[in-house]
Symmetry: C2
Subunit: 216 residues, 2 copies
């Protein structure tokens, strides 16, 4: 039943966007009285939270599935496929993507429950970095570490990876979402004619930036 509520809510999300999501509309579509939803959901905010968690999980599953198919020693390919999977999911579920990575929903503050699922996606990339480090596929990163990265993240999430590489990886990570958001939200329409091509070409640059070499 909770499943059905989430499914219907997802459908509504695709039509109206998160700020317009309404419990009454969900109930109506299921064929229940509005009050009946409160047996399964504490409030509208709780439903939004559930949708966010489900979004991260869904995205992460998709990313993991596609990344896992690439040969383990093809580090560039693994990074590339990770990013492509993100873009693919975003294009398939634009409103859901916007709920996760777009503007915060007014009046809604995401509770801490949403942090853990969010990291599952990034963990895929962290693993690629880790494997690239272990197998010597990471070029020497020049310069100094920025010192701007959380110590805990460095010690746990990116354990063993050169801090200078971590700097670059977080930048690349934000860039991927920047590209996807720009494309989805219409900021590339007047400058880029072929989104697929542009995204792939950009990723080559980002992978170079991170320093994964071309041996793989």
């Amino acid at each position: 039943m909770m499943e059905e509520i989430l499914d219907v809510a997802l459908g509504q999300l695709a039509l109206t966007g998160a700020p317009g999501l309404s419990l009454r509309a969900v109930a109506r579509e299921i064929g229940l009285a509005p009050s009946a939803l409160y047996r399964y959901v504490d409030s509208r905010d709780a439903l939004l939270t559930a949708l966010i968690v489900r979004g991260y999980d869904d995205l992460a599953s998709g990313v993991e599935a596609r990344e896992s198919v690439v040969a383990r020693d093809d580090l560039r390919g693994r990074f590339l496929e990770t990013a492509r999977a993100i873009r693919g999911w975003a294009r398939a579920h634009p409103h859901h993507y916007a709920l996760l990575y777009g503007s915060p929903v007014p009046g809604y503050a995401a509770p801490p429950d949403t942090i853990a699922p969010a990291t599952r996606v990034a963990a895929v990339m962290a693993r690629v970095l880790h494997d690239a480090t272990a197998s010597g596929h990471l070029g020497e990163a020049g310069g100094e570490p920025s010192g701007a990265v959380e110590g805990e993240a460095l010690a746990d999430f990116f354990a063993g990876v050169d801090p200078r590489t971590v700097d670059r990886a977080i930048l690349a990570w934000a860039s991927i979402y920047g590209l996807v958001s720009f494309e989805l939200f219409g900021h590339l329409v007047s400058s880029v004619s072929n989104g697929d091509l542009f995204f792939d070409a950009s990723l080559e640059h980002l992978i170079d930036l991170v320093g994964i070499d071309r041996r793989g």
Copy 2:
């Protein structure tokens, strides 16, 4: 009067975000009957459009002001300051930034009027690229052009700039907004402890990526 409406609407925007912006609330704050607003504004959508146009203009003015102070032959500095001005404006007006670069407002489709003001910001960066090309501050970009960039943009907006550089510049551009959005929307809280430092360090990488050399 139109000025006052926009000012009050901006204040509301900062409190409620764009999807919650209401004509009645604006009228209430000004001390008018709701219907009186219709003498100045065609509809709620028209007000949103006006806010978007004003946002791009305000942002562009800020960016132009800060970029223009940098020595003309300091190409890296000009790029850096452009990006810093974007971030500064975004942090000062997060809801206004979200209206421009975040998720589209549900039920609202931005009319073509908003395109021109939007390009004013990007034009600052295009000018830096142009000057860097003219003064030989751009390193040779490796590889092949992606071929994904609009021909018209290449011929007009980026006239004279190596297409391979344009590829990289658009990527860098999207990356800047990716960084800013990630920071503003809370996706860096667990990984980056010093936003200023991280942003500046990232920009050095992006400027290297674009290929502006360090002579300036």
